[in-house]
């Protein structure tokens, strides 16, 4: 594209954390008016590179030039002042404040008497509308909206800063197709204003759609910088993970759809009229041994709520729960675990990892909880379990004594999966298990899920990637506005398209009001 000088140029960047060299002599250039994709598998150093640029981490070697000037930032504030707006990988907003306050924090509209809140909220509304969040009231407390919406709010916040460089670290990880398109529309608009965008995503389709140029990292080392159009997909994959692309893409090619549900089987778990006021309208669901139930729906359609109810993370206020033929009442995760039900959360940071504990402790924690505090897992057994899952799920670095908060996002996700597998559940509920996971690992996790089902585990699979749901599930429950609107056997007639149409064509509003009143 442009032949101008780069807006940002990072040369020979190295960053060392105790025990790991996260970045080793890496270069990165951002040109104005370009979307630049930073590629690499989990733990390659993408987020670290971004944090190096914005001064969150101190660099051990290298130079950073912004606009031709040698710069070292002392934190995000500095970087912002130099025109670099950043949306970090983990949503970093303040849950105690409202959506509007979060968007405008530090940039509130001021009048004669300090902040003019009316104008501030109006401005926030404008920025939210840009992100397609036209209906979101800026006064809503942030902790009342879903992670995905929070991610959009975070991006809206980045728009507030009149930036020359916009950095988006995995902004699409929890968005569905529509939101991604909205986001891309904005990114293009911004790019056309001559702003440099740094974009990180594990979705190759997205990268090929939006990015102009890419830099590939591997194991903290610089591999290559090229134009996207010159880089064939399979070559890219090989460069990123060093594996052959063919090894990855073999999974779930409709193979499972040939085994529709035998109607006579007794379900492992079954709920009737299950619901909770304010989160999900009553629904029925049957889950079978060895089968995968996919949940499909748009953002905020109630998929997570179903997962949480089935696990007892929230208490249901209606309906019955039958498990293995017995009526059970599940009012806490501890209780669910006793019944061999496990749930991996979509909110990794707040409900998943225990940041200051080691990988080992994070893995055995749930298993330990089922045994009770006074029957500790013998060290040997713990080591065996931990080693097994670190290997099986390919957690990197494979060091069980590392604090989990220091792992890259994708690897944290793998550790969480390991935590639940270690409890040997009969019903495994996975909420966005592949969020933020690189293509190699995603294939591995998907394969793991299939294997588990094949071994007889019942799986509930929740994902914003419809494609993934369609590929893995035996049956798909479709949700809209917190109603279960459909249950389909995943046979040849089902595709992403049919599900999207199903959602679009079903109306639930009348139904919902009726139910609410009763």
């Amino acid at each position: 594209m442009t032949k101008e000088a780069p807006l940002v140029s990072m040369k020979g960047i190295s960053i060392e954390f105790p025990g790991v060299k996260a970045l080793d002599n890496v270069d990165l250039r951002l040109f104005p008016g370009e979307v630049h994709a930073l590629m690499g598998e989990n733990g390659a150093g993408k987020s670290t590179m971004i944090k190096a640029l914005t001064g969150v981490y101190k660099i051990n070697a290298g130079t950073i030039t912004v606009n031709g000037q040698n710069r070292i930032f002392n934190g995000t504030a500095d970087a912002q002042n130099a025109g670099i707006a950043t949306v970090y990988q983990e949503v970093n907003l303040c849950t105690n404040l409202s959506v509007g306050e979060n968007v405008m924090l530090g940039h509130e509209v001021r009048g004669h008497l300090g902040i003019n809140w009316r104008k501030t909220h109006e401005a926030a509304k404008g920025f939210l509308a840009q992100m397609g969040l036209t209906d979101l009231d800026p006064h809503t407390p942030l902790n009342e909206i879903s992670i995905a919406m929070q991610q959009l709010v975070a991006i809206a916040r980045a728009m507030v800063i009149d930036a020359k460089v916009l950095i988006l670290d995995e902004p699409t990880s929890s968005l569905d197709a529509n939101e991604v398109q909205d986001l891309f529309r904005i990114m293009r608009k911004v790019r056309d204003r001559g702003i440099a965008i740094l974009f990180v995503s594990h979705f190759l389709d997205q990268v090929y759609e939006i990015a102009d140029r890419m830099t590939i990292l591997r194991n903290g080392k610089f591999v290559e910088e090229t134009m996207v159009k010159d880089m064939p997909r399979d070559v890219l994959i090989t460069k990123m993970i060093g594996k052959n692309a063919d090894e990855l893409s073999l999974i779930g090619t409709k193979s499972r759809k040939e085994t529709p549900q035998a109607a006579t089987d007794r379900p492992l778990a079954s709920v009737r009229g299950f619901g909770r006021k304010g989160s999900i309208y009553p629904f029925d669901m049957d889950l079978f041994k060895g089968k995968i139930m996919g949940l499909a729906g748009l953002l905020g359609s109630g998929r997570t709520e179903i997962g949480r109810l089935l696990f007892g993370a929230d208490k249901p206020d209606k309906g019955t729960y039958t498990f293995d033929g017995k009526k059970i009442s599940i009012d806490s995760p501890a209780n669910a675990l006793k019944n061999k039900i496990a749930y991996s959360t979509e909110n990794r940071r707040d409900e998943g990892i225990i940041g200051d504990l080691t990988v080992r402790e994070n893995i055995i924690l749930a298993l330990q909880a089922t045994r009770g505090m006074f029957r500790p897992i013998p060290r040997k057994e713990a080591d065996r379990i931990v080693d097994k899952y670190i290997k099986e799920l390919n957690v990197r670095p494979a060091d069980p004594d590392r604090l989990i908060k220091n792992l890259s996002g994708g690897n944290q996700q793998k550790v969480l999966l390991a935590r639940w597998l270690a409890t040997d559940p009969e019903l495994l509920i996975l909420d966005e298990p592949t969020r933020g996971i690189d293509i190699g690992a995603k294939a591995e996790i998907q394969q793991t899920v299939l294997d588990l089902a094949a071994q007889g585990m019942s799986v509930v699979f929740i994902s914003s990637e419809l494609d993934e749901v369609v590929r893995l599930s035996d049956q798909i429950t479709v949700l809209k506005d917190r109603h279960k609107i459909d249950l389909m056997d995943n046979d040849d007639t089902v595709s992403q398209q049919t599900i999207v149409e199903d959602i679009a064509n079903t109306s639930v509003s009348g139904q919902s009001q009726g139910k609410e009143e009763r």
Partner: protein, 335 residues
């Protein structure tokens, strides 16, 4: 989407974050009424006047404490700062330094301790609790080194008008029906107003709330966290010196043992006022109510004729009942 329209339909809805504060107001009024019904002396102009005049200092301290607590921190040094600024202030007055200058010096001393706390917290990673516990010991210790005497302000100083009897707005034959006001109360009101503006109308104030929500997020959002932390501990220390000015002017003397345990009264006031001790939520007006509630507990226990030994138990239980009630109200409202 759905959520939003739902809240629109509900029309007027008390923000759930304000509920504990509103509960504090309601319970305060109930306590007043109870006192009036049982003992007949609570809803009197004189009682109200002295409630405010005698507790102007606590209102200021509660406001001071609100700042660090909103960020999830705490300032344990406020009581000790009252002592050291008071002792130094009266010493200076005895030495003949004019009142205006004395006030400036007292505030400067407070600021020094606030700054020290800020440095310990921000530069040396000390947790606020420990940093301000240290400055508390330090301030109290220096105050004791300076003097352990009860220092009396010289006669005819031009200082005591601040805390003195002040003006009588309504002067009835009986003092218990006088409505009076002194400068200390006005200072407290100004402090409350200014703090309200800082917290709700300035970016610094919003940063304080953001830090309380999540410090690391606030940093990654590019907010001036470090600077704000300095502002917070400076503010609380300076307000403590202002409380000292008001209090010392009121009683006309100062002493190294002044203000022992006031930090805990201030914390209690802040918490009663609905501010979360872990930070992020709360209002400075709540703290004012909290201070008043805290103040009215003592006369109530004494009027109830609680046996001497059990007084602190009853005070504790009253705060407990209060916190539990507040919790229930919050819970019910949420459901």
């Amino acid at each position: 989407m759905m959520k939003k329209s739902a809240s629109r339909q509900a029309g007027f809805r008390l923000s759930p974050r304000a509920i504990p504060t509103v509960a504090a107001v309601v319970i305060f009024l109930l306590m007043l009424i109870m006192g009036q019904v049982l003992f007949g002396t609570y809803i009197r102009l004189g009682f109200m006047s002295s409630l405010f005049m005698d507790h102007a200092y606590l209102v200021i301290l509660a406001v001071a404490m609100t700042f660090p607590i909103l960020t999830g921190g705490i300032d344990l040094s406020v009581g000790a700062i009252v002592a050291i600024t008071g002792v130094v202030g009266v010493k200076l007055m005895i030495a003949g330094v004019p009142a205006g200058l004395v006030i400036v010096i007292m505030i400067a001393i407070g600021a020094v301790f606030g700054l020290l706390a800020g440095v310990l917290i921000e530069e040396f990673n000390m947790q606020p609790f420990i940093a301000t516990l240290s400055t508390m010991f330090l301030a109290r210790g220096i105050a004791s080194i300076i003097s352990t005497d009860s220092l009396n302000m010289p006669q005819n100083n031009n200082f005591s008008w601040i805390g003195g009897e002040g003006l009588k707005i309504i002067d009835n034959p009986k003092i218990s029906n006088d409505l009076s006001l002194n400068f200390g109360v006005i200072v407290a009101l100004v402090v409350v107003a200014v703090s309200y503006v800082i917290l709700h109308k300035t970016r610094t104030g919003r940063t304080i709330y953001a830090i309380g929500g999540s410090r690391s997020s606030a940093e990654l959002m590019g907010l001036p966290v470090k600077r704000t932390q300095y502002v917070i501990y400076l503010t609380s220390a300076v307000l403590a010196s202002i409380a000292s000015i008001v209090y010392v002017a009121g009683i006309g003397s100062a002493k190294n043992t002044m203000g022992v345990g006031w930090e805990l009264d201030a914390v209690a006031a802040v918490v009663i006022g609905g501010t979360l001790i872990t930070g992020g939520y709360g209002y400075v007006l709540g703290s004012v109510i909290g201070a008043l509630v805290r103040s009215i507990i003592d006369p109530l226990t004494s009027d109830f004729g609680v046996p001497a030994e059990a007084v602190t138990i009853v005070v504790g239980l009253m705060i407990l009942v209060f916190v539990i009630l507040q919790r229930l109200v919050t819970f019910v409202r949420k459901e």
